[in-house]
Protein backbone atom coordinates (compact mmCIF):
# COMPACT_ATOMS: atom_id res chain seq x y z
CA UNK A 1 0.00 0.00 0.00
CA UNK A 2 1.59 3.27 -1.17
CA UNK A 3 1.83 6.21 1.20
CA UNK A 4 -0.17 9.09 -0.14
CA UNK A 5 0.35 12.84 -0.37
CA UNK A 6 1.94 15.50 -2.51
CA UNK A 7 5.70 15.77 -2.75
CA UNK A 8 7.32 19.18 -3.27
CA UNK A 9 10.57 19.23 -5.25
CA UNK A 10 12.73 22.34 -4.76
CA UNK A 11 15.75 22.43 -7.06
CA UNK A 12 17.29 25.09 -9.31
CA UNK A 13 18.58 22.52 -11.78
CA UNK A 14 15.77 21.86 -14.31
CA UNK A 15 17.25 18.45 -15.16
CA UNK A 16 16.97 17.12 -11.63
CA UNK A 17 13.56 18.65 -11.21
CA UNK A 18 12.26 16.88 -14.29
CA UNK A 19 14.08 13.62 -13.58
CA UNK A 20 12.85 13.28 -10.00
CA UNK A 21 9.39 14.39 -10.98
CA UNK A 22 9.18 11.69 -13.69
CA UNK A 23 10.38 8.95 -11.32
CA UNK A 24 8.00 9.94 -8.51
CA UNK A 25 5.04 10.36 -10.84
CA UNK A 26 5.78 6.95 -12.39
CA UNK A 27 5.30 5.51 -8.94
CA UNK A 28 2.03 7.21 -8.27
CA UNK A 29 3.04 10.30 -6.32
CA UNK A 30 1.60 13.76 -6.84
CA UNK A 31 4.49 16.11 -7.51
CA UNK A 32 4.80 19.88 -7.11
CA UNK A 33 7.91 21.77 -8.27
CA UNK A 34 9.69 24.99 -7.38
CA UNK A 35 12.98 26.38 -8.72
CA UNK A 36 13.83 28.69 -5.84
CA UNK A 37 13.56 28.80 -2.05
CA UNK A 38 11.08 31.66 -2.27
CA UNK A 39 8.82 29.81 -4.71
CA UNK A 40 9.20 26.68 -2.58
CA UNK A 41 7.96 28.46 0.56
CA UNK A 42 4.98 29.83 -1.35
CA UNK A 43 4.17 26.28 -2.45
CA UNK A 44 4.51 24.95 1.10
CA UNK A 45 2.09 27.56 2.41
CA UNK A 46 -0.42 27.03 -0.37
CA UNK A 47 -0.38 23.26 -0.67
CA UNK A 48 1.05 21.82 2.55
CA UNK A 49 2.94 18.91 0.92
CA UNK A 50 3.50 15.59 2.66
CA UNK A 51 7.24 15.67 1.93
CA UNK A 52 9.81 18.15 0.64
CA UNK A 53 12.82 17.14 -1.45
CA UNK A 54 15.28 20.03 -1.32
CA UNK A 55 18.51 20.83 -3.15
CA UNK A 56 20.89 22.63 -0.88
CA UNK A 57 22.70 24.76 -3.45
CA UNK A 58 20.18 27.14 -4.85
CA UNK A 59 20.49 30.77 -5.92
CA UNK A 60 22.38 31.64 -2.76
CA UNK A 61 24.68 29.14 -1.13
CA UNK A 62 22.76 29.05 2.13
CA UNK A 63 19.29 29.10 0.54
CA UNK A 64 18.73 25.43 1.38
CA UNK A 65 19.58 25.99 5.04
CA UNK A 66 17.35 29.03 5.46
CA UNK A 67 14.52 27.27 3.63
CA UNK A 68 14.61 24.26 5.93
CA UNK A 69 14.99 26.50 8.97
CA UNK A 70 11.90 28.49 8.00
CA UNK A 71 9.85 25.34 7.48
CA UNK A 72 11.08 23.57 10.59
CA UNK A 73 10.47 26.51 12.95
CA UNK A 74 6.92 27.08 11.73
CA UNK A 75 4.46 25.13 13.95
CA UNK A 76 2.17 24.60 10.97
CA UNK A 77 4.80 22.93 8.79
CA UNK A 78 7.46 21.55 11.05
CA UNK A 79 6.11 18.02 10.84
CA UNK A 80 6.69 17.93 7.06
CA UNK A 81 9.77 15.75 6.50
CA UNK A 82 12.55 17.26 4.41
CA UNK A 83 14.89 15.13 2.31
CA UNK A 84 17.99 17.14 1.50
CA UNK A 85 19.60 16.31 -1.83
CA UNK A 86 23.00 17.82 -2.34
CA UNK A 87 25.98 17.94 -4.64
CA UNK A 88 27.70 20.42 -2.41
CA UNK A 89 29.62 18.19 -0.05
CA UNK A 90 32.98 17.86 -1.74
CA UNK A 91 33.00 21.17 -3.57
CA UNK A 92 32.80 23.21 -0.40
CA UNK A 93 34.69 20.80 1.79
CA UNK A 94 31.58 20.24 3.94
CA UNK A 95 30.85 16.76 5.03
CA UNK A 96 27.38 16.29 6.39
CA UNK A 97 26.13 13.75 8.79
CA UNK A 98 22.83 13.72 10.57
CA UNK A 99 24.53 13.22 13.92
CA UNK A 100 26.64 16.38 13.70
CA UNK A 101 24.59 18.65 11.52
CA UNK A 102 21.08 17.26 11.83
CA UNK A 103 20.09 19.56 14.63
CA UNK A 104 20.76 22.88 12.99
CA UNK A 105 20.17 21.69 9.44
CA UNK A 106 16.75 20.61 10.57
CA UNK A 107 16.26 18.09 7.79
CA UNK A 108 15.14 14.52 8.19
CA UNK A 109 17.43 12.78 5.76
CA UNK A 110 19.88 13.63 3.05
CA UNK A 111 21.34 12.12 -0.11
CA UNK A 112 24.20 12.92 -2.48
CA UNK A 113 23.33 13.82 -6.05
CA UNK A 114 22.71 12.08 -8.37
CA UNK A 115 20.15 9.94 -6.62
CA UNK A 116 19.31 6.65 -8.31
CA UNK A 117 15.54 6.04 -8.73
CA UNK A 118 15.44 3.00 -6.41
CA UNK A 119 17.19 4.90 -3.61
CA UNK A 120 14.99 7.94 -4.03
CA UNK A 121 11.80 5.85 -3.92
CA UNK A 122 12.95 3.87 -0.91
CA UNK A 123 13.81 7.01 1.11
CA UNK A 124 10.61 8.80 0.12
CA UNK A 125 8.56 5.80 1.13
CA UNK A 126 10.35 5.50 4.47
CA UNK A 127 9.92 9.19 5.33
CA UNK A 128 6.24 9.17 4.43
CA UNK A 129 5.56 6.01 6.49
CA UNK A 130 7.44 7.42 9.48
CA UNK A 131 5.18 10.44 9.36
CA UNK A 132 2.07 8.30 9.45
Amino acid sequence: MKASGKILLVDDDPDFLEMHKAVLQNHGYDVLTATSGQEGLERVRAEIPALIILDLMMEKHDAGFSFSKTVKTDPLFRKIPILMVTSVAEATGFRFSLEDDGYWMKTDDFLDKPVMPEVLLERVDKLLRKRE
Binding site: D12, P14, F16, M19, V23, E90, A91, G93, P114, P117
Partner: protein, 491 residues
Protein backbone atom coordinates in the same frame (compact mmCIF):
# COMPACT_ATOMS: atom_id res chain seq x y z
CA UNK B 1 118.50 30.04 1.72
CA UNK B 2 118.96 27.29 -0.79
CA UNK B 3 120.66 29.24 -3.56
CA UNK B 4 124.17 30.45 -2.67
CA UNK B 5 124.21 34.00 -1.36
CA UNK B 6 125.45 36.70 -3.73
CA UNK B 7 128.32 38.75 -2.38
CA UNK B 8 129.97 41.78 -3.93
CA UNK B 9 133.36 43.05 -2.89
CA UNK B 10 134.11 46.73 -3.63
CA UNK B 11 137.72 47.64 -2.96
CA UNK B 12 140.39 49.48 -4.91
CA UNK B 13 143.12 47.16 -3.63
CA UNK B 14 143.35 44.14 -5.83
CA UNK B 15 144.97 42.05 -3.09
CA UNK B 16 142.01 42.49 -0.77
CA UNK B 17 139.51 41.79 -3.59
CA UNK B 18 141.20 38.58 -4.65
CA UNK B 19 141.81 37.50 -1.04
CA UNK B 20 138.14 37.94 -0.20
CA UNK B 21 137.11 36.03 -3.30
CA UNK B 22 139.30 33.08 -2.49
CA UNK B 23 138.17 32.84 1.11
CA UNK B 24 134.45 33.30 0.40
CA UNK B 25 134.28 31.13 -2.75
CA UNK B 26 135.51 28.28 -0.60
CA UNK B 27 132.51 28.86 1.68
CA UNK B 28 130.22 28.36 -1.33
CA UNK B 29 129.15 31.96 -1.99
CA UNK B 30 128.83 33.59 -5.41
CA UNK B 31 131.34 36.37 -5.54
CA UNK B 32 131.53 39.44 -7.76
CA UNK B 33 134.24 42.06 -7.60
CA UNK B 34 134.34 45.82 -8.26
CA UNK B 35 137.43 48.00 -8.17
CA UNK B 36 135.62 51.27 -7.38
CA UNK B 37 132.31 52.75 -6.22
CA UNK B 38 131.01 53.53 -9.73
CA UNK B 39 131.43 49.99 -10.95
CA UNK B 40 130.08 48.71 -7.60
CA UNK B 41 126.87 50.75 -7.97
CA UNK B 42 126.43 49.52 -11.52
CA UNK B 43 126.69 45.91 -10.32
CA UNK B 44 124.13 46.54 -7.59
CA UNK B 45 121.71 47.90 -10.17
CA UNK B 46 122.17 44.82 -12.37
CA UNK B 47 122.02 42.08 -9.75
CA UNK B 48 120.43 41.48 -6.36
CA UNK B 49 123.16 41.10 -3.69
CA UNK B 50 122.71 39.78 -0.22
CA UNK B 51 125.86 41.22 1.22
CA UNK B 52 128.41 43.79 0.07
CA UNK B 53 131.86 44.38 1.44
CA UNK B 54 132.80 48.03 0.99
CA UNK B 55 136.17 49.63 1.43
CA UNK B 56 135.78 52.98 3.12
CA UNK B 57 138.75 54.68 1.46
CA UNK B 58 138.48 54.59 -2.31
CA UNK B 59 139.11 57.09 -5.09
CA UNK B 60 135.96 58.38 -6.79
CA UNK B 61 132.85 57.60 -4.76
CA UNK B 62 133.88 57.18 -1.14
CA UNK B 63 132.73 54.27 1.05
CA UNK B 64 130.30 56.29 3.20
CA UNK B 65 128.68 57.80 0.14
CA UNK B 66 128.48 54.40 -1.51
CA UNK B 67 126.67 52.91 1.52
CA UNK B 68 124.02 55.58 1.24
CA UNK B 69 123.52 55.09 -2.49
CA UNK B 70 123.38 51.29 -2.26
CA UNK B 71 120.70 51.52 0.43
CA UNK B 72 118.70 53.80 -1.83
CA UNK B 73 118.57 50.89 -4.29
CA UNK B 74 117.83 48.17 -1.69
CA UNK B 75 117.69 49.03 2.04
CA UNK B 76 117.86 45.37 3.05
CA UNK B 77 121.32 44.63 1.62
CA UNK B 78 123.81 43.87 4.39
CA UNK B 79 126.77 46.22 4.17
CA UNK B 80 130.05 45.36 5.85
CA UNK B 81 132.69 48.06 5.93
CA UNK B 82 136.35 47.21 5.44
CA UNK B 83 138.57 49.92 6.83
CA UNK B 84 142.20 50.58 7.36
CA UNK B 85 141.46 53.25 9.87
CA UNK B 86 140.02 51.14 12.56
CA UNK B 87 138.85 53.97 14.65
CA UNK B 88 135.69 54.12 16.66
CA UNK B 89 134.63 57.29 14.77
CA UNK B 90 134.67 55.78 11.30
CA UNK B 91 132.97 52.65 12.54
CA UNK B 92 130.22 54.63 14.30
CA UNK B 93 129.82 56.87 11.27
CA UNK B 94 129.51 53.86 8.94
CA UNK B 95 126.98 52.15 11.22
CA UNK B 96 125.01 55.39 11.42
CA UNK B 97 124.82 55.38 7.66
CA UNK B 98 123.36 51.90 7.72
CA UNK B 99 126.33 49.56 7.66
CA UNK B 100 125.82 46.28 9.46
CA UNK B 101 129.32 45.93 10.89
CA UNK B 102 132.94 46.68 10.08
CA UNK B 103 136.09 44.71 9.55
CA UNK B 104 139.40 46.37 10.34
CA UNK B 105 142.35 45.79 8.00
CA UNK B 106 144.25 43.62 8.11
CA UNK B 107 141.86 40.76 8.85
CA UNK B 108 142.18 37.02 9.01
CA UNK B 109 140.17 34.69 6.67
CA UNK B 110 138.39 33.37 9.79
CA UNK B 111 137.31 36.85 10.88
CA UNK B 112 135.97 37.44 7.32
CA UNK B 113 133.99 34.21 7.08
CA UNK B 114 132.50 34.58 10.56
CA UNK B 115 131.38 38.13 9.88
CA UNK B 116 130.02 37.28 6.44
CA UNK B 117 128.14 34.24 7.78
CA UNK B 118 126.57 36.39 10.48
CA UNK B 119 125.70 39.05 7.91
CA UNK B 120 124.09 36.51 5.61
CA UNK B 121 122.03 35.15 8.50
CA UNK B 122 120.95 38.67 9.29
CA UNK B 123 120.01 39.15 5.65
CA UNK B 124 117.89 36.01 5.72
CA UNK B 125 116.13 37.16 8.86
CA UNK B 126 115.48 40.56 7.34
CA UNK B 127 114.05 39.00 4.17
CA UNK B 128 111.86 36.64 6.22
CA UNK B 129 110.58 39.53 8.33
CA UNK B 130 109.84 41.48 5.17
CA UNK B 131 107.97 38.50 3.67
CA UNK B 132 105.91 38.06 6.82
CA UNK B 133 105.11 41.73 6.91
CA UNK B 134 103.89 41.69 3.30
CA UNK B 135 101.91 38.55 3.94
CA UNK B 136 100.19 40.11 6.91
CA UNK B 137 99.38 43.25 4.96
CA UNK B 138 97.95 41.10 2.19
CA UNK B 139 95.84 39.08 4.64
CA UNK B 140 94.48 42.19 6.26
CA UNK B 141 93.60 43.61 2.86
CA UNK B 142 91.93 40.36 1.86
CA UNK B 143 90.04 40.23 5.12
CA UNK B 144 88.78 43.78 4.69
CA UNK B 145 87.86 42.97 1.09
CA UNK B 146 86.10 39.77 2.16
CA UNK B 147 84.12 41.62 4.79
CA UNK B 148 83.00 44.38 2.47
CA UNK B 149 82.25 41.83 -0.25
CA UNK B 150 80.14 39.83 2.21
CA UNK B 151 78.28 42.99 3.23
CA UNK B 152 77.63 43.92 -0.40
CA UNK B 153 76.38 40.43 -1.26
CA UNK B 154 74.12 40.24 1.78
CA UNK B 155 73.00 43.83 1.24
CA UNK B 156 71.66 43.26 -2.24
CA UNK B 157 69.87 40.00 -1.42
CA UNK B 158 66.09 40.20 -1.58
CA UNK B 159 65.87 37.59 1.17
CA UNK B 160 66.36 38.93 4.66
CA UNK B 161 69.56 37.86 6.47
CA UNK B 162 70.15 38.19 10.18
CA UNK B 163 73.11 36.99 12.27
CA UNK B 164 73.08 36.90 16.06
CA UNK B 165 75.99 36.09 18.36
CA UNK B 166 76.07 34.05 21.59
CA UNK B 167 75.42 37.21 23.60
CA UNK B 168 72.05 37.45 21.77
CA UNK B 169 73.10 40.61 19.95
CA UNK B 170 72.50 41.35 16.29
CA UNK B 171 75.84 41.42 14.51
CA UNK B 172 74.90 41.37 10.84
CA UNK B 173 71.68 42.09 8.95
CA UNK B 174 70.56 43.47 5.62
CA UNK B 175 67.97 45.96 4.39
CA UNK B 176 65.54 43.21 3.40
CA UNK B 177 65.53 41.88 6.97
CA UNK B 178 64.93 45.38 8.34
CA UNK B 179 61.96 45.80 6.01
CA UNK B 180 60.40 42.36 6.48
CA UNK B 181 60.80 42.14 10.25
CA UNK B 182 60.45 45.86 10.95
CA UNK B 183 63.77 45.74 12.82
CA UNK B 184 64.18 48.74 15.08
CA UNK B 185 67.05 50.13 17.11
CA UNK B 186 69.70 48.50 14.92
CA UNK B 187 71.72 51.73 15.11
CA UNK B 188 72.29 51.22 18.83
CA UNK B 189 75.14 48.72 18.91
CA UNK B 190 75.11 45.97 21.49
CA UNK B 191 71.37 45.90 22.11
CA UNK B 192 69.87 42.45 22.64
CA UNK B 193 67.93 40.89 19.79
CA UNK B 194 64.66 41.15 21.76
CA UNK B 195 65.04 44.91 21.50
CA UNK B 196 65.25 44.95 17.69
CA UNK B 197 63.15 41.89 16.90
CA UNK B 198 59.49 42.28 17.63
CA UNK B 199 58.52 38.79 16.54
CA UNK B 200 58.27 36.52 19.60
CA UNK B 201 58.24 33.27 17.65
CA UNK B 202 61.48 34.15 15.91
CA UNK B 203 63.24 35.14 19.15
CA UNK B 204 62.13 31.88 20.77
CA UNK B 205 63.49 29.81 17.91
CA UNK B 206 66.79 31.70 17.97
CA UNK B 207 67.06 31.10 21.72
CA UNK B 208 66.48 27.42 21.09
CA UNK B 209 69.41 27.38 18.66
CA UNK B 210 71.70 29.45 20.90
CA UNK B 211 70.82 27.32 23.92
CA UNK B 212 71.20 24.01 22.15
CA UNK B 213 73.93 21.66 23.41
CA UNK B 214 73.32 19.23 20.60
CA UNK B 215 76.11 19.41 18.03
CA UNK B 216 74.08 17.72 15.35
CA UNK B 217 71.35 20.36 15.60
CA UNK B 218 71.17 21.76 12.09
CA UNK B 219 68.22 23.94 11.13
CA UNK B 220 64.77 25.25 12.02
CA UNK B 221 62.33 26.10 9.24
CA UNK B 222 59.37 28.15 10.40
CA UNK B 223 56.49 30.10 8.95
CA UNK B 224 56.04 33.47 10.60
CA UNK B 225 53.06 35.79 10.43
CA UNK B 226 53.64 39.51 10.70
CA UNK B 227 50.94 42.08 11.25
CA UNK B 228 52.35 45.28 9.90
CA UNK B 229 52.64 44.88 6.97
CA UNK B 230 50.44 41.79 6.98
CA UNK B 231 52.57 39.08 5.48
CA UNK B 232 53.72 35.49 5.76
CA UNK B 233 57.46 34.91 6.06
CA UNK B 234 59.45 31.71 5.78
CA UNK B 235 62.39 31.75 8.18
CA UNK B 236 65.31 29.29 8.03
CA UNK B 237 67.46 29.44 11.14
CA UNK B 238 70.75 27.60 11.59
CA UNK B 239 73.60 27.62 14.09
CA UNK B 240 76.93 29.19 13.08
CA UNK B 241 79.89 27.13 14.31
CA UNK B 242 83.68 27.56 14.28
CA UNK B 243 86.02 24.93 12.81
CA UNK B 244 85.96 22.96 16.08
CA UNK B 245 82.19 22.84 15.98
CA UNK B 246 81.71 25.32 18.82
CA UNK B 247 78.58 27.44 18.61
CA UNK B 248 79.25 31.08 17.65
CA UNK B 249 75.74 32.30 17.00
CA UNK B 250 72.82 31.83 14.67
CA UNK B 251 71.99 32.87 11.15
CA UNK B 252 68.42 33.51 9.95
CA UNK B 253 67.36 33.74 6.33
CA UNK B 254 63.88 35.12 5.72
CA UNK B 255 61.81 34.92 2.56
CA UNK B 256 58.52 36.71 2.01
CA UNK B 257 56.05 34.06 0.86
CA UNK B 258 52.90 36.19 1.15
CA UNK B 259 52.32 36.23 -2.61
CA UNK B 260 52.89 32.47 -2.87
CA UNK B 261 50.37 31.88 -0.11
CA UNK B 262 47.83 34.07 -1.87
CA UNK B 263 48.33 32.26 -5.15
CA UNK B 264 47.97 28.96 -3.32
CA UNK B 265 44.63 30.07 -1.86
CA UNK B 266 43.32 31.40 -5.18
CA UNK B 267 44.42 28.21 -6.88
CA UNK B 268 42.69 25.94 -4.40
CA UNK B 269 39.55 28.08 -4.54
CA UNK B 270 39.60 27.85 -8.31
CA UNK B 271 40.08 24.09 -8.22
CA UNK B 272 37.16 23.62 -5.83
CA UNK B 273 35.03 25.91 -7.99
CA UNK B 274 35.94 23.99 -11.13
CA UNK B 275 35.29 20.69 -9.38
CA UNK B 276 31.83 21.88 -8.42
CA UNK B 277 31.08 23.20 -11.91
CA UNK B 278 32.16 19.90 -13.42
CA UNK B 279 30.21 17.89 -10.89
CA UNK B 280 26.83 19.51 -11.58
CA UNK B 281 26.52 18.48 -15.25
CA UNK B 282 28.11 15.10 -14.55
CA UNK B 283 25.61 14.41 -11.79
CA UNK B 284 22.77 15.36 -14.14
CA UNK B 285 24.11 13.08 -16.87
CA UNK B 286 24.47 10.22 -14.42
CA UNK B 287 20.97 10.95 -13.10
CA UNK B 288 19.43 10.74 -16.59
CA UNK B 289 21.31 7.55 -17.42
CA UNK B 290 20.18 6.19 -14.05
CA UNK B 291 16.47 6.74 -14.71
CA UNK B 292 16.79 5.29 -18.24
CA UNK B 293 18.64 2.22 -16.98
CA UNK B 294 16.18 1.66 -14.15
CA UNK B 295 13.48 1.36 -16.79
CA UNK B 296 11.59 4.37 -15.47
CA UNK B 297 10.80 5.57 -18.99
CA UNK B 298 7.35 4.53 -20.06
CA UNK B 299 8.10 4.27 -23.75
CA UNK B 300 10.81 4.59 -26.38
CA UNK B 301 10.00 8.25 -26.98
CA UNK B 302 10.48 9.21 -23.35
CA UNK B 303 13.70 7.22 -23.12
CA UNK B 304 14.98 9.09 -26.17
CA UNK B 305 13.95 12.43 -24.69
CA UNK B 306 15.84 11.68 -21.47
CA UNK B 307 18.96 10.56 -23.29
CA UNK B 308 18.84 13.79 -25.29
CA UNK B 309 18.76 15.74 -22.02
CA UNK B 310 21.83 13.83 -20.88
CA UNK B 311 23.50 14.62 -24.20
CA UNK B 312 22.77 18.34 -23.79
CA UNK B 313 24.44 18.37 -20.39
CA UNK B 314 27.37 16.44 -21.85
CA UNK B 315 27.65 19.15 -24.51
CA UNK B 316 27.66 21.91 -21.92
CA UNK B 317 30.29 20.00 -19.96
CA UNK B 318 32.43 19.81 -23.09
CA UNK B 319 32.01 23.55 -23.67
CA UNK B 320 33.05 24.19 -20.09
CA UNK B 321 36.18 22.07 -20.42
CA UNK B 322 36.95 23.86 -23.69
CA UNK B 323 36.65 27.25 -21.99
CA UNK B 324 38.78 26.10 -19.07
CA UNK B 325 41.51 24.95 -21.45
CA UNK B 326 41.29 28.26 -23.25
CA UNK B 327 41.69 30.23 -20.03
CA UNK B 328 44.50 28.01 -18.89
CA UNK B 329 46.36 28.53 -22.16
CA UNK B 330 45.87 32.28 -21.93
CA UNK B 331 47.10 32.40 -18.35
CA UNK B 332 50.09 30.24 -19.08
CA UNK B 333 50.85 32.61 -21.96
CA UNK B 334 50.98 29.69 -24.35
CA UNK B 335 48.80 31.37 -26.94
CA UNK B 336 51.07 33.04 -29.42
CA UNK B 337 49.10 36.05 -30.57
CA UNK B 338 49.40 36.71 -34.25
CA UNK B 339 48.98 40.43 -34.52
CA UNK B 340 47.79 41.70 -37.87
CA UNK B 341 45.71 44.54 -39.23
CA UNK B 342 42.07 43.80 -38.46
CA UNK B 343 39.08 45.76 -39.73
CA UNK B 344 36.70 45.33 -36.77
CA UNK B 345 33.58 46.52 -38.62
CA UNK B 346 34.02 43.71 -41.18
CA UNK B 347 34.86 41.09 -38.54
CA UNK B 348 31.88 41.94 -36.32
CA UNK B 349 29.67 42.15 -39.44
CA UNK B 350 30.51 38.53 -40.28
CA UNK B 351 29.73 37.39 -36.74
CA UNK B 352 26.39 39.23 -36.92
CA UNK B 353 25.56 37.39 -40.17
CA UNK B 354 26.49 34.09 -38.51
CA UNK B 355 24.16 34.71 -35.55
CA UNK B 356 21.20 36.04 -37.58
CA UNK B 357 19.42 32.64 -37.82
CA UNK B 358 19.87 32.03 -34.09
CA UNK B 359 18.54 35.53 -33.29
CA UNK B 360 15.52 34.93 -35.51
CA UNK B 361 14.73 31.70 -33.69
CA UNK B 362 14.72 33.66 -30.43
CA UNK B 363 12.67 36.44 -32.06
CA UNK B 364 15.40 38.99 -31.52
CA UNK B 365 16.33 41.65 -34.06
CA UNK B 366 20.11 41.69 -34.58
CA UNK B 367 21.47 44.73 -36.42
CA UNK B 368 24.84 46.23 -37.26
CA UNK B 369 24.74 50.05 -37.27
CA UNK B 370 28.31 51.34 -37.52
CA UNK B 371 28.05 55.01 -36.48
CA UNK B 372 31.59 55.93 -37.61
CA UNK B 373 34.02 54.14 -39.93
CA UNK B 374 36.82 52.51 -37.90
CA UNK B 375 40.52 52.41 -38.75
CA UNK B 376 42.15 48.97 -38.78
CA UNK B 377 43.69 47.88 -35.47
CA UNK B 378 46.52 45.47 -34.70
CA UNK B 379 44.93 42.38 -33.22
CA UNK B 380 44.76 38.60 -33.28
CA UNK B 381 41.89 37.60 -35.58
CA UNK B 382 41.03 34.41 -33.67
CA UNK B 383 40.90 36.32 -30.37
CA UNK B 384 38.70 39.03 -31.87
CA UNK B 385 36.31 36.43 -33.29
CA UNK B 386 36.06 34.70 -29.92
CA UNK B 387 35.57 38.02 -28.09
CA UNK B 388 32.69 39.24 -30.25
CA UNK B 389 31.15 35.77 -30.60
CA UNK B 390 30.94 35.62 -26.78
CA UNK B 391 29.43 39.10 -26.52
CA UNK B 392 26.89 38.72 -29.35
CA UNK B 393 25.90 35.24 -28.19
CA UNK B 394 25.34 36.61 -24.66
CA UNK B 395 23.24 39.47 -26.05
CA UNK B 396 20.98 36.93 -27.77
CA UNK B 397 20.85 34.49 -24.85
CA UNK B 398 20.00 37.13 -22.26
CA UNK B 399 17.52 38.96 -24.47
CA UNK B 400 13.72 38.91 -24.35
CA UNK B 401 11.11 37.96 -26.89
CA UNK B 402 10.84 40.67 -29.61
CA UNK B 403 13.92 42.35 -28.22
CA UNK B 404 16.73 43.79 -30.27
CA UNK B 405 20.52 44.00 -30.40
CA UNK B 406 22.25 46.96 -32.00
CA UNK B 407 25.96 47.08 -32.64
CA UNK B 408 27.47 50.56 -32.91
CA UNK B 409 30.94 51.98 -33.31
CA UNK B 410 32.83 54.96 -31.88
CA UNK B 411 36.26 56.51 -32.24
CA UNK B 412 38.39 58.77 -30.07
CA UNK B 413 42.04 59.87 -30.15
CA UNK B 414 43.43 56.49 -29.09
CA UNK B 415 40.72 53.86 -29.05
CA UNK B 416 38.17 52.33 -31.37
CA UNK B 417 34.94 51.37 -29.63
CA UNK B 418 32.42 48.64 -30.39
CA UNK B 419 29.15 48.83 -28.45
CA UNK B 420 26.76 45.92 -28.23
CA UNK B 421 23.45 47.24 -27.00
CA UNK B 422 20.71 44.75 -26.05
CA UNK B 423 17.19 45.09 -24.73
CA UNK B 424 17.57 42.02 -22.56
CA UNK B 425 17.06 41.10 -18.94
CA UNK B 426 19.84 43.42 -17.74
CA UNK B 427 22.08 43.00 -14.75
CA UNK B 428 21.29 44.09 -11.20
CA UNK B 429 23.67 46.80 -9.88
CA UNK B 430 24.82 44.40 -7.15
CA UNK B 431 25.91 41.83 -9.73
CA UNK B 432 27.65 44.28 -12.11
CA UNK B 433 31.05 44.26 -10.42
CA UNK B 434 31.14 40.45 -10.47
CA UNK B 435 30.21 39.60 -14.06
CA UNK B 436 33.82 39.22 -15.23
CA UNK B 437 34.64 36.77 -12.42
CA UNK B 438 35.24 33.10 -13.15
CA UNK B 439 32.00 31.09 -13.15
CA UNK B 440 29.89 34.02 -12.07
CA UNK B 441 26.47 33.82 -13.66
CA UNK B 442 23.60 36.19 -13.01
CA UNK B 443 20.83 34.05 -11.61
CA UNK B 444 17.25 35.14 -11.82
CA UNK B 445 14.09 33.39 -12.77
CA UNK B 446 14.56 34.50 -16.34
CA UNK B 447 18.16 33.40 -16.67
CA UNK B 448 17.58 30.01 -15.12
CA UNK B 449 16.97 28.15 -18.35
CA UNK B 450 19.92 29.75 -20.16
CA UNK B 451 22.90 27.47 -20.47
CA UNK B 452 26.41 28.81 -20.13
CA UNK B 453 29.75 28.01 -18.61
CA UNK B 454 30.12 31.19 -16.59
CA UNK B 455 33.47 31.73 -18.28
CA UNK B 456 32.46 33.64 -21.45
CA UNK B 457 32.99 37.13 -20.02
CA UNK B 458 36.13 36.01 -18.17
CA UNK B 459 37.59 35.00 -21.52
CA UNK B 460 36.33 38.20 -23.18
CA UNK B 461 38.02 40.34 -20.54
CA UNK B 462 41.27 38.41 -20.80
CA UNK B 463 41.31 38.90 -24.57
CA UNK B 464 40.65 42.65 -24.28
CA UNK B 465 43.32 42.99 -21.57
CA UNK B 466 45.86 41.14 -23.68
CA UNK B 467 45.24 43.66 -26.46
CA UNK B 468 45.76 46.60 -24.05
CA UNK B 469 42.14 47.64 -24.32
CA UNK B 470 39.32 47.77 -21.81
CA UNK B 471 35.77 46.49 -21.58
CA UNK B 472 32.90 48.32 -19.91
CA UNK B 473 29.31 47.50 -19.18
CA UNK B 474 26.24 49.61 -18.50
CA UNK B 475 23.05 47.91 -17.52
CA UNK B 476 19.61 48.34 -16.07
CA UNK B 477 17.55 45.37 -14.93
CA UNK B 478 14.70 44.61 -17.38
CA UNK B 479 15.89 47.37 -19.72
CA UNK B 480 19.01 45.86 -21.20
CA UNK B 481 22.80 46.01 -21.18
CA UNK B 482 25.47 47.64 -23.30
CA UNK B 483 28.89 46.02 -23.48
CA UNK B 484 31.56 48.37 -24.84
CA UNK B 485 34.95 47.16 -26.02
CA UNK B 486 37.73 49.72 -26.49
CA UNK B 487 40.87 48.72 -28.36
CA UNK B 488 43.88 50.96 -29.12
CA UNK B 489 44.82 51.91 -32.67
CA UNK B 490 47.81 53.63 -34.25
CA UNK B 491 47.13 56.80 -36.19
Amino acid sequence: MNTPANILVVDDEMGIREGCRRVLAEEGYDIDLAEDGTIGLQRVREKAYDLILVDLMMPGIGGLDLIKRIHEIDPEIILVVITGYATIETAVEATKRGAYDYLPKPFTPEALTVLVRRGIEKRELRLEAQRLYHEREQRLLELAGEKSRLRSIIGCMTDGVLVTNMQRQLVLWNAAAVKMLRLSGTDEPGRLMDHCLKNRALVESLDRILGSQDESFSMIGQEIQTDNPKSVLMAQMAPVRDEQGRLLGAVTVIRDITKLKEIETIKSQFVSMVAHELRSPLAAIEGWLGVVLSGEAGDEEQRRKWLLRAKERANSLLALVQDLLEINKMEAGKVAQKMEAVQLTDLVGKIVEFFKPEAERQHVLLEMKPSVPLPAIQADVRDMEKLFTNLVSNAIKYNVENGSITIETSLDAHFVGIHIRDTGVGIAPADLPRIFEDFFRVETKRTNKISGTGLGLTIAKKIVDSHFGHIEVESQPDRGSTFSVYLPYKK
